[in-house]
């Protein structure tokens, strides 16, 4: 008990914890760390499914209407002796995107790391509402089960794209999908409830339960990013919920919100969907930015460059994300003047994104850089985000967007941003695995995983820009049906082979993850010599997290501080009087 403990803060930590049984510990747990792990396993499981769906999509695009190896057992009309029919193809890319966005990136980046990290990083014993937290996971899991169950209903799963554009999605006759599309809507409605519960919990916890001394501007950028994300979730999801409810009514009760024959407006769906959908993109990417900022600073052994600019640029991105949705609709028939306005706001939102990239560079400058697996993945995220961010400028320019809208240029762009998040996701897994599971992951396997993933990610997604420039439409079943796409078909084959290898590149990760869970080297308390509070807690942290209530004396990025001999200075480490004045 060498630490100075704020008076009155200890009682919470030393609260009595009764032994909980198996069900309460592992299944219906109210401990934020177990809920975080549950979200992680849910997300990784769905990642495998979403990835396999993508492989099927790619197979069809490279070698159209040839049997997919190993899938001849899937019955008609879903597949014909291994050949994917158009209807199934539409379902495959719809479900690939839906699963990756709502059941992989959100559960892992927001659900898992939000839950696991927020209480640990702000120095408290749990979330503000543990029961709500448990419900948030289980409601989310139910949404996942509903989504997966749609694969087994008559007519197959939703096939109107993850954007579910009306009127295609609003009448079963248009897609031939009845129950599957309804289940898609219901699943996302249910998932919305889960996310709302989570976001209320995150916001309340961050506002009210920070450790003594943990001012807002001493919070790690990961917490800042999750805080901003939670606010975006809280405000964006109700709009999606409203749109989904209207869509469900159109499909089942005979209303006409989106159907012109009853006086409805198909474009209303697009406005509502993207009013949610663009903030959603930042809901996905902000936590990745936060994690990357923390990791870059930790492994450069150097304070983050421009902490305040980083926090404020996230706030700016969040604010601006509400007024850019129309850039998805430049050629929808929306008033061209609106197109001009949305182009302006979209160009503006590129500025805070640019600031972040430059500040990451500034963080590397003059560092003492340790190229560990988590650091490599964080750098991979920066590199991919750079490409994804820059390619976004093309479609922000309304005239250029006329040509590249709905082509593979867009597919390339959003995979560099959203699929690029997987690099931050892996960085987070490698970095916090020791704290989560008490063991280290294998570094050599992690580096092999990084090298292969980075290589094949770029070989998969970069050539999609070429397809887009050639005018290759997205969501087409068979590119060889078009004369003008013939010269591009070799690229499709190249991309598919790269994608299959990208899939195989995940094998080292799976082996590493599972093996390390049981046989990894035991992790010490602070294996990365990091400053943030989670590393002051025991590994893995017990129920209640900290042995003593931590008190925070400085910002999270005091690496290589002249005040101490080591090159790190934890946030809760007291220094001799008069010394602890640096930082934020």
């Amino acid at each position: 008990m060498s630490q100075t403990v704020a008076a009155g803060a200890t009682h919470a930590v030393h609260g009595h914890h009764e032994e909980l049984g198996f069900w309460r510990t592992y299944i219906f747990s109210m401990d934020h760390k177990m809920i975080g792990r549950q979200f992680l396993f849910l997300g990784l499981f769905m990642l495998i499914i979403g990835g396999l769906l993508a492989m099927m999509v790619r197979w069809q695009l490279a070698w159209p209407e040839t049997p997919v190896p190993g899938l001849s057992a899937i019955p008609e009309p879903y597949m014909y002796e291994g050949i994917i029919p158009p209807q199934t193809y539409n379902a495959l890319f719809t479900m690939h995107a839906t699963i990756m966005i709502f059941f992989v990136v959100m559960p892992i980046m927001v659900g898992c790391y939000g839950n696991f990290l927020i209480p640990l990083m702000i120095g408290t014993r749990d979330m503000a509402f543990p029961l709500l937290n448990m419900l948030s996971f289980w409601v989310g899991a139910v949404a996942g089960v509903i989504m997966l169950s749609s694969f087994f209903v008559v007519g197959g799963p939703a096939a109107a794209g993850w954007t579910g554009y009306a009127t295609l999605s609003a009448k079963a006759a248009y897609t031939g999908v009845g129950m599957g599309q309804n289940l898609w809507i219901i699943s996302l409605l249910v998932l919305g409830i889960s996310s709302l519960m989570g976001s209320i919990n995150y916001i309340t916890t961050i506002v009210n339960m920070r450790a003594p001394g943990m001012t807002y501007f001493r919070m790690p950028l990961t917490v800042w990013s999750l805080f901003v994300t939670a606010i975006l979730l809280l405000l964006a999801l109700p709009v999606l919920t409203a749109a989904l409810a209207m869509l469900l009514f159109d499909r089942t009760l005979g209303t006409s919100f989106f159907l012109p024959e009853g006086g409805g407006q198909p474009l209303l769906w697009q406005h509502m969907f993207w009013f949610f959908g663009h903030p959603e993109v930042y809901i996905l990417v902000l936590p990745a930015m936060g994690v990357t900022s923390d990791l870059l600073s930790t492994f450069s052994r150097k304070p983050i460059f421009g902490y305040h600019a980083m926090a404020f640029s996230m706030i700016a991105i969040a604010f601006l994300s509400w007024i850019v949705w129309g850039h998805h609709m430049f050629i929808s028939g929306m008033n061209p003047l609106l197109g001009t306005a949305f182009m302006m706001t979209t160009m503006v939102i590129a500025v805070p994104s640019a600031i972040k990239v430059f500040n990451w560079l500034g963080t590397l400058w003059g560092g003492n850089i340790r190229l560990t697996s988590p650091m490599l993945f964080a750098l991979g995220f920066v590199s991919n985000f750079l490409i994804g961010g820059l390619s976004g400028i093309f479609m922000a320019s309304t005239p250029v967007d006329i040509f590249i809208h709905d082509t593979y240029y867009i597919v390339a762009h959003f995979h560099y941003v959203v699929a690029g998040i997987i690099f931050a996701l892996f960085a987070a897994v490698y970095y916090w695995f020791p704290k989560m599971f008490g063991r280290m992951m294998s570094e050599p396997l992690g580096k092999i995983h990084f090298a292969l993933t980075y290589l094949f990610f770029n070989l998969t997604f970069f050539p999609m820009h070429f397809l887009g420039v050639g005018g290759h439409m997205r969501r087409i079943y068979n590119p060889t049906q078009y004369e003008f796409l013939q010269p591009l078909q070799d690229w499709n084959v190249f991309i598919t082979i790269s994608a299959l290898l990208l899939g195989l590149s995940q094998v080292p990760f799976l082996i590493n993850f599972i093996w390390s869970l049981f046989g990894g080297k035991k992790a010490e308390r602070n294996p990365w010599q990091a400053n943030t509070l989670e590393w002051s807690a025991p590994t893995p942290p017990p129920h209640g997290n900290f042995e003593v209530q931590p008190t925070v004396y400085r910002g999270p990025y005091e690496y290589s501080s002249p005040e101490v001999k080591e090159d790190w200075l934890p946030q809760d480490k007291p220094l001799a009087k008069g010394a602890a004045v640096r930082g934020h």
């Binding site: 302006m344 500040n359 560092g367 420039v469 439409m473 079943y477 290589s560």
Partner: protein, 221 residues
């Protein structure tokens, strides 16, 4: 990368393409700059025993510089885009040549005015998936859809416009070279989306007159 762009055969295609090229050069330069710096930093500042990182929290001057420069570039790009956009969308040149295209699963219904010389009347003459227009003539297309949203895309003309059920949107183009150009649907419209395509036939004045005499005039009598 941009060599994959389809041949441009419209009066305004070069404006879109030159913006495309401009953004390409700016972003490529930025990409190279950032990537080279990143690699240099990773090599120069790799961990070495006994060395200590520079203890710095940032540099306000630098941050202001790298906020202002991208902001300025983006503002300039916006204004350049606005001009072209207005030209394409708001300042539609007048024309006496108009057709209507109604998209449906999974066809383009192309209508030419009938004997009354007006579109949208009973005597309109309908074609499946084939659009015939004269070269060097402003063509107005009144686009709508009867079931789901489709998108009328002519890559060679840099023309793309969604066809939305319940509303009619007018687009325009002027082709500069006779030929036969593919006309795919670019918006997911159901299981037959892939393969929903037509052809734009751009004729010289003489050939167009011939085609019109055979296909329009005969029906207009």
């Amino acid at each position: 990368m941009l060599r994959w762009l389809p041949e441009d055969v419209s009066t305004y295609g070069h404006e879109i393409d030159s913006l495309f090229y401009l953004i390409y050069y700016i972003t490529a330069a930025t990409f190279i700059l950032v990537t080279v710096l990143m690699v240099v930093f990773l090599v120069m500042y790799r961990e070495r025993p006994g060395r200590r990182a520079i203890y710095s929290h940032g540099n306000t001057t630098l941050e202001i510089i790298w906020t202002i420069i991208p902001a300025a570039i983006l503002i300039v790009l916006s204004f350049m885009s606005v001009n072209t956009w207005a030209k394409l969308k708001s300042e539609v040149p007048p024309s006496d040549f108009a057709i209507q295209v109604t998209a449906k699963q999974f066809n383009w219904d192309v209508f030419y005015p009938g004997p009354d010389g007006k579109l949208g009347t009973q005597d309109d003459i309908r074609f499946d998936n084939d659009v015939h227009v004269p070269v060097n003539k402003v063509v107005h297309i009144h686009l709508t859809a009867s079931d789901v949203i489709h998108s009328f895309f002519i890559p060679n003309l840099r023309f793309k416009q969604d066809a939305v059920p319940g509303r009619t949107v007018t687009g325009w183009f002027e082709a500069t070279k006779p030929g036969r150009y593919e006309l795919p649907c670019a918006e997911l419209c159901g299981f037959g989306h892939s393969g929903m395509k037509g052809w734009l036939h751009v004729h010289n004045a003489e050939d167009y007159a011939k085609w019109a005499a055979e296909n329009l005039a005969s029906k207009q009598q």
